[in-house]
Each structure stands twice: as structure tokens, then as C-alpha cells.
């Protein structure tokens, strides 16, 4: 039955009208719907698609809004009208509560006390926008990338001189006064402050701090280039200083790839003056150098979190390089898995959405494996040509957040489908034994990143099984129970697809090594 709703002299913006049209077509019992202004041609279209009626011809004019729907019943049309009302009211209420002033001046007019801005504009405009914020005394999280190193230096010189944070560029994670910014996880508030030159590194550390029962006071991002010689580490310095003087912070964690030696020494020297325990995670860096300064060195992101929580409790921090399930159980499981591989299966393939997680995994595995080909290789000679379109080579780990994969596409933490496709195609390679993946949840991430990955794992394992092989798919979820996606819910999805889910990225990488070691000892695939 065709039903019609008319609103005389009613004008709604086009985005709202399109949304109404889209939502109505999803309603059960609605065969067809047309939404629009009552022009002659729109009424003609209504006739073409079977939703016209005499009232549409006689009562509606070009300045009237109409909804015409072919519904199974009047009850269904009542639902149609309710949906239209709900969407129009949502728009009206959004105007009230979610008004976003379109300019900085407008925002300051509403709230002159604003002191934090998140800047996410195309790179060529980002420096100017960030500087405008700094000049108004506003701290900045600069999410944008493609900011030149010269621009970054100028911004940070200004920011440092005025004791303002310029977190970035290309900074994806921060938690300031308990407020998560950009990609961040829901973590308990506590007394551990983090300064990180790494997005997923910060997410892994903060999530694990929460899981180990600790809490985060502040998480300050610096951007990946902050500790380069050309920049000199101003935001790491400012962050350290801020946490040193923050009465809520009792333990400090520094997270970064190993900086240039001179910068490292400067940062470590500053850290010794913090007056609080400092855990330093220079991923894959020289722990002896850190310990020479009397600081606590971490051998992995997980180890950094463990040690920070221990220090926060007044306990002595100890290295954690094992497995939560226990060494013996892990070894037994690895042997069992290794026994199931077909001849020829011998390589690990890691596919990551978080660059730091990929980097950490490679650093943990490379002392044993020797070479790991990658688009972000640890050794230049291990650069994988055509990482996106080509095939994996021997042991391979790929960062799907790297530019090669993200030109014209959203970041894989937002759209993980490309990584999932790679998992599926990898199953055709008879030399692939272990697939390693991260799964990052939290604010900003895909609402259900495990879904695509689980399906790909299911498909890959089936493909391998059909060819008489088995695939060991090992995953680690970076996130917390408090995250919108839910840690255990995400882990369960992956387990149900046949993945083995380890509690941390480091454990996942170490477990992959355990399997390959068991395989080697088996001797069947030497």
C-alpha cells in the first residue's frame, strides 16, 4: 500500500534528506520509498517507481517536503513516520548540543579558556593551523602528516619556548587529563605517566598498564620524528618535565624507537632528574645504556607496562620475557602446532595495522630469524619490493599503515579490509607456516576490527587445510575491556575463527619463534 506524508513549506538540508531516504529503505516492510521536495518531476519519479498517489498530485507543491512509501501495512508506515521524525529531531537536537564552531575565533568566542586543539587537516595547511592555535596559547595534538621537518622544527621551537605541547605531527594517540584523543583506549586513571613517540606503542603500553591493574595519569604523544637530530626532542623534554612536576604521576614511562645516541643520552640524563622512577622502552635499543643512567630498561612494550605497574606498587620490577600461560605450556603447545605442518612450511608472515607493533615483533624475532623482509625493514637489504602488489618473501612482516598501503585509503586501523585480504591470499603459499596479526581496538579504530580478520583467518585456514596444510594464525589484541569493541569480545571472535590469541604483541612474536624453533627441532622442514 502506498502511503504519503506531506510537510507543507518545510525545508530540510540535503544531507538530512539523503539520510532519511537511506534509513527508510532499510526498514522492514518498506518495499520502496521516495523522499524529496514536491516538484513536478519528483512527483513523476514517484509514479515511475510505484509510490504515487492522488494526494501527491493534488496536495503537494514544489515547496513542500514529502515522504512516499510503498509499505506492507499502516503499521509499517507509522514506523516510517517515526523514523522521519526521529531523524529530523536528532538533527534539531544536534544543533543544540553538538554545535561545532567552524573557526578558531568562533570557538574561542564560545569558550575563551580553550587550551587543547586536535588538528587534522591536509598536510600543506596543517603547520599554519597548528601555529595559529599555539599563538592563541592552545596546546596542539597534530594528527596531520605530510608536515615538513622544517615546519615541525619551527612549531616545536615556538611551542617549547611557550611551554605548550605540540604533539605530532602524525601523532595518533594521547590521553590528557583522562580524555582520550584520536586513537586511544579506555584505561583506568592512575599514577603512571607516559611520553611516547609512537602511537600503537603508546596504545599497547597504556592498555597493558590497565590490564595489569595500574592506571594512566597522562599519555603525551610527541610524534615519530621528535627524537630525530633535526628536531632534538623538545616534546619529549617538555613531556618529561610536565610529568616530573605532575603530583598525580609517580612513575614515568618513555616509549620510542631508539633515538640517535646524543639525543638518547640527553633524554636519559633528563630522566634521571625526574625524581621518580622512569621506565625506558627504546624498542630494540641498548638496555645497558639505559641502566647506566640508573633507569629501568624495558625489553618490550609489555615489559615496560609490567615494570611501570610494579614500580607504582613499590615492587621491584623484573624482566618479563615469557608467556602468561607459562613456559612449559607454551613450549608444549608450540610443539603440538609444529607437528601439524606439511613439508615445506617454514616461514612466518606478519601483517600489522600498527607500525610500532610490526617493528617490535621484527626486533624480537630477528636475532633468531636473521632476515625479515618488510616495507619497514630493520636492515636496508631486507626491503620487500612491491610490498602491496607483490608476494611475501621468506620471513615477512608488513606494516599496513605505511604510505605504500594508505595512499587513497583510510588507515588500516579504520579500514582493516586490505590486511584481511592479504591474510587470505597468504594461505595459497605452501611455505607459509605462521601468520601473525595485531588487532587494535579503542576509540578511532574500526567498530569491529576482528570481524574481517576472523573471516580471513577462517578462510585462510580452510584454504590451507584443503591443500593438506595447516596454518598457525597468532593474534594479539591491543586494547582494554572498557574499549567500545571490548577486549575479550574481540579476542573471542578471533579464537572462534581458529586463531591463537596471545595477551600481548611481544608474546605473540615470541610464540611464533617458539613454533619455528619446534619446527626446526622436528627436522621435517630444515
Amino acid at each position: 500500500m502506498v502511503q504519503l506524508e506531506i510537510r507543507k513549506n518545510a525545508y530540510y538540508d540535503s544531507v538530512t534528506l539523503m539520510r532519511i531516504s537511506k534509513e527508510l529503505k532499510k526498514l522492514e516492510g518498506v518495499q520502496e520509498a521516495l523522499v524529496g521536495m514536491g516538484t513536478d518531476l519528483n512527483r513523476e519519479i514517484a509514479g515511475h517507481i510505484g509510490v504515487t498517489s492522488p494526494r501527491l498530485e493534488t496536495e503537494v507543491t514544489a515547496n513542500d517536503f514529502f515522504v512516499a512509501a510503498d509499505c506492507e501495512s499502516e503499521a509499517v508506515f507509522a514506523a516510517v513516520k517515526q523514523t522521519v521524525d526521529a531523524l529530523l529531531n536528532e538533527k534539531a537536537e544536534a544543533g543544540d548540543s553538538a554545535y561545532r564552531p567552524p573557526t578558531l575565533d568562533g570557538a574561542l568566542k564560545i569558550d575563551p579558556a580553550l587550551n587543547m586543539a586536535l588538528v587534522s587537516v591536509p598536510g600543506k595547511f596543517a603547520a599554519n593551523v597548528a601555529m595559529e592555535c599555539l599563538e592563541h596559547g592552545i596546546n596542539v595534538l597534530l594528527f596531520s602528516d605530510n608536515v615538513t621537518i622544517e615546519e615541525e622544527r619551527a612549531l616545536k621551537e615556538y611551542a617549547y619556548a611557550h611551554e605548550l605541547l605540540l604533539m605530532g605531527p602524525d601523532c595518533g594517540t594521547a590521553i590528557i587529563n583522562g580524555v582520550p584523543l584520536a586513537f586511544a583506549n579506555v584505561v583506568r586513571r592512575g599514577d603512571i605517566g607516559v611520553v611516547a613517540a609512537s602511537g600503537t606503542g603508546a596504545q599497547e603500553v597504556s592498555s597493558l598498564i590497565d590490564r595489569f591493574g595500574g592506571g594512566v595519569s597522562q599519555l603525551i604523544g610527541t610524534g615519530g620524528r621528535d627524537l630525530k637530530i633535526e628536531i632534538g626532542g623538545p616534546m619529549m623534554k617538555l613531556g618529561l618535565d610536565a610529568l616530573k612536576n605532575d603530583p598525580q604521576t609517580r612513575v614515568i614511562v618513555l616509549v620510542s624507537k631508539p633515538p640517535a645516541p646524543a639525543i638518547a643520552r640527553e633524554m636519559l640524563a633528563l630522566a634521571t632528574e625526574a625524581g621518580k622512577p622512569v621506565v625506558v622502552c627504546f624498542i630494540g635499543g641498548d638496555r645497558a645504556e639505559v641502566e647506566r643512567f640508573g633507569l629501568t630498561a624495558a625489553v618490550s612494550l609489555e615489559d615496560a607496562a609490567q615494570k611501570a605497574v610494579a614500580l607504582s606498587r613499590g615492587e621491584t620490577p623484573e624482566d618479563f620475557t615469557g608467556f602468561s600461560m607459562g613456559e612449559a605450556e607454551a613450549a608444549a603447545l608450540a610443539r603440538k602446532i609444529a607437528a601439524g605442518f606439511a613439508p615445506g612450511q617454514r616461514f612466518v608472515r606478519g601483517f600489522y595495522t600498527g607500525g610500532t607493533l610490526c617493528d617490535e615483533s621484527m626486533k624480537l624475532m630477528i636475532p633468531t630469524l636473521g632476515h625479515i623482509y618488510s616495507n619497514i625493514p630493520l636492515h636496508k637489504e631486507d626491503l620487500l619490493a612491491d610490498a602491496k602488489g607483490g608476494e611475501s618473501r621468506e620471513h615477512t612482516c608488513l606494516d599496513f599503515g605505511d604510505d605504500a598501503f594508505t595512499v587513497g585509503r583510510p588507515h588500516p586501523m579504520i579500514d582493516p579490509s586490505l590486511r584481511a585480504e592479504r591474510v587470505l591470499t597468504e594461505a595459497d603459499d605452501p611455505t607459509c607456516a605462521v601468520i601473525l596479526c595485531d588487532c587494535v581496538i579503542g576509540y578511532g579504530s574500526h567498530p569491529n576490527p576482528a570481524e574481517d580478520l576472523a573471516e580471513a583467518i577462517r578462510g585462510a585456514r580452510q584454504t590451507a587445510a584443503n591443500a593438506g596444510r595447516q596454518l598457525a594464525c597468532i593474534c594479539a589484541v591491543c586494547g582494554t575491556e572498557g574499549d567500545p569493541q571490548g577486549l575479550s569480545r574481540t579476542q573471542r571472535q578471533l579464537e572462534e575463527a581458529g586463531a591463537l590469541v596471545l595477551p600481548s604483541n611481544a608474546q605473540a612474536a615470541r610464540f611464533a619463534l617458539l613454533i619455528l624453533d619446534a619446527l626446526r627441532k622436528e627436522g621435517t622442514n630444515a
Binding site: S14, S21, T39, L41, G95, G106
Partner: protein, 294 residues
């Protein structure tokens, strides 16, 4: 009384308001725009919140609240006084006097240059394809998947092209009327397509400017009579040889520099839900008609 300031104003607006004897009336109110009706005038006057696009007979205003929450209601009176618009029932005054006055005439673009920059048309089409616009008429330019609207307009558009090519004013007006008012948006897609097409026509047509102007005026008048007030307003402005500031920037890029086309097109694509895409569709169809090979 609360005061907001306009940062930019169409240079035709203040003279028009100075001549207004009677109060204006609020025609429609949105989060980021208000339309005002001036007695005796068919086209509407617009107030647009920053950083929105300046359109003919409008002003861009620095707001600190949505228009729809500022106490402005349809049907209420507005007074044009001392280079300001006063909304007594809302306790609001919008000052226009210190705004940058902008000339939105299409004739300000490359008056001596009639051919688009090489590669500009391709860049335009690629930008349209890349936008993924599905609900409007973009498929008429990109060849993508169509919809009920593209099927209707697509059948009738050749008659319009033929009438325009022959300079047949009456036939062209009938053809424009035959496709006006078709589409889902507040400004139906076909009206935006016509606006894009007819704005570019004077820059491309090989006829004398006055002839083309007469054609455009007749077509926009005929189309305006077949659609709602807001869309009609834009069509009539097009008939006067005026256009949106963002669309003028795109036209400039099309005629001057291929490199500038993509960013300019992206700013137009951001207009409305499909309005920008439909205007670009109209522009591409005009380019095809006169240049070919796109």
C-alpha cells in the same frame, strides 16, 4: 541586542538592501544558513555561517551558535538598517558594513580565454569519479551506476543540448523546464546540474555573449518556475550571470591551470549532499558539448 559580523558579502547585496522599503521575512532557517525573502523579489537573500561558501546576494557570517538555535524563525520580520540586518524577535543584529565585498559575476573569469586548460577536463572528471557521489546525477558525466533521476534527466538532456547548440531560445527554455526539479535534495539535483551547465555556458559558447546571456536567462527562468523557492533562487542568480564563490574558483582553475582543478573541485564537491557534484556534472556536460573528447 546580540551582534554578529559578516566577513564577506556579495557586492550586490548592500545596494539591494539599501533600496528595500519594507521589511524582509525569514523564509527558512537551517543550522548554518538562513534565507530571507525581500518583498517584490523572487530570489532569496542568504546568510551563511562561516566557513560556508559565499553565494550571490548573500553574506558569510561569523556565528557562535547555529542559526536555528539563535531565535530566528520562519515568517518573522527582518529589518535592513545601517548596513545591518536586524532580527528583533531573535534579539540579533548581523553587521554587513565591514565585510569584504565580493564580485560574484562569472564574467570576471578569463574574459578573453575560451578554452579550458589542457587536462583540466580530465582532472574534473576524475575528481567527480573519486567523490563516489551516487545519489545525484554524477553518473551522467562519469558513466557510473545510474538511478531513477539519471534515467529521467539522461533521456531529456540531449534535447536541451540540441536547442542550445541551435540557439533556439524557446526550445531551450522548454528543455530546461522539462528537467528542472528532479532529485532528492533541498535543491534538486537537476537544478544544480543546470546551474553548473548554464554558468559555464557563457564562457564556452562560440556565440556572442549577449545571445548566450539571453539563452541562459530564458532557461533559468523556465526552470525556476518548476522548482522550489530555494533552488529557484540559485537558478535565477545563474540567469543574472552570478555564481557561488567556490564554483567561480573552480571555473577559474578549469580555464587557467590543470593543477588547480583537483583542489578546487574538492571544495565544490563539499557543497551540500550532492549539489557540488551535480554542479560539476553540469560543468563537465558543458565542456563536452563544446570541446568534446572528455
Amino acid at each position: 541586542m546580540r551582534e554578529w559580523n559578516a566577513s564577506a558579502v556579495c557586492n550586490r547585496l548592500l545596494p539591494l538592501l539599501n533600496g528595500a522599503g519594507r521589511p524582509l521575512t525569514v523564509h527558512s532557517v537551517f543550522l548554518r544558513a538562513v534565507n530571507l525573502k525581500l518583498p517584490g523579489r523572487r530570489g532569496l537573500i542568504g546568510l551563511i555561517a562561516e566557513p560556508g561558501c559565499l553565494t550571490p546576494y548573500s553574506a558569510v557570517v561569523q556565528t557562535d551558535a547555529p542559526f536555528s538555535n539563535a531565535g530566528i524563525c520562519a515568517g518573522t520580520a527582518v529589518f535592513a538598517e545601517d548596513r545591518a540586518l536586524r532580527f528583533p524577535e531573535a534579539g540579533l543584529s548581523v553587521n554587513l558594513g565591514s565585510a569584504e565585498a565580493v564580485d560574484l559575476r562569472v564574467s570576471t573569469i578569463a574574459p578573453f580565454c575560451r578554452r579550458p586548460a589542457e587536462g583540466a577536463a580530465d582532472a574534473l572528471t576524475q575528481a567527480l569519479r573519486g567523490s563516489g557521489a551516487q545519489n545525484g546525477l554524477a553518473a551522467l558525466a562519469t558513466g557510473g551506476e545510474g538511478n531513477a533521476y539519471t534515467r529521467l534527466v539522461g533521456k531529456r538532456f540531449p534535447a536541451l543540448v540540441s536547442a542550445v547548440s541551435q540557439g533556439d531560445v524557446e526550445a531551450a527554455a522548454r528543455a530546461a523546464a522539462s528537467i528542472a526539479g528532479c532529485g532528492a535534495g533541498l535543491t534538486p539535483s537537476s537544478d544544480d546540474l543546470l546551474t553548473g551547465y548554464l554558468t559555464a555556458l557563457p564562457l564556452l559558447a562560440k556565440k556572442p555573449r549577449e545571445e548566450t546571456a539571453a539563452l541562459v536567462t530564458a532557461m533559468t527562468e523556465a526552470a525556476a518556475a518548476r522548482t522550489g523557492d530555494i533552488s529557484a533562487s540559485f537558478l535565477l542568480q545563474c540567469g543574472e550571470g552570478l555564481s557561488h564563490r567556490t564554483f567561480l574558483a573552480l571555473l577559474r582553475a578549469v580555464f587557467e591551470s590543470q593543477d588547480a582543478v583537483k583542489p578546487a573541485a574538492e571544495r565544490v564537491l563539499a557543497i551540500g549532499a550532492t549539489s557540488g557534484a551535480d554542479m560539476i556534472t553540469g560543468l563537465i556536460l558543458a565542456l563536452r558539448q563544446y570541446i568534446g573528447g572528455i
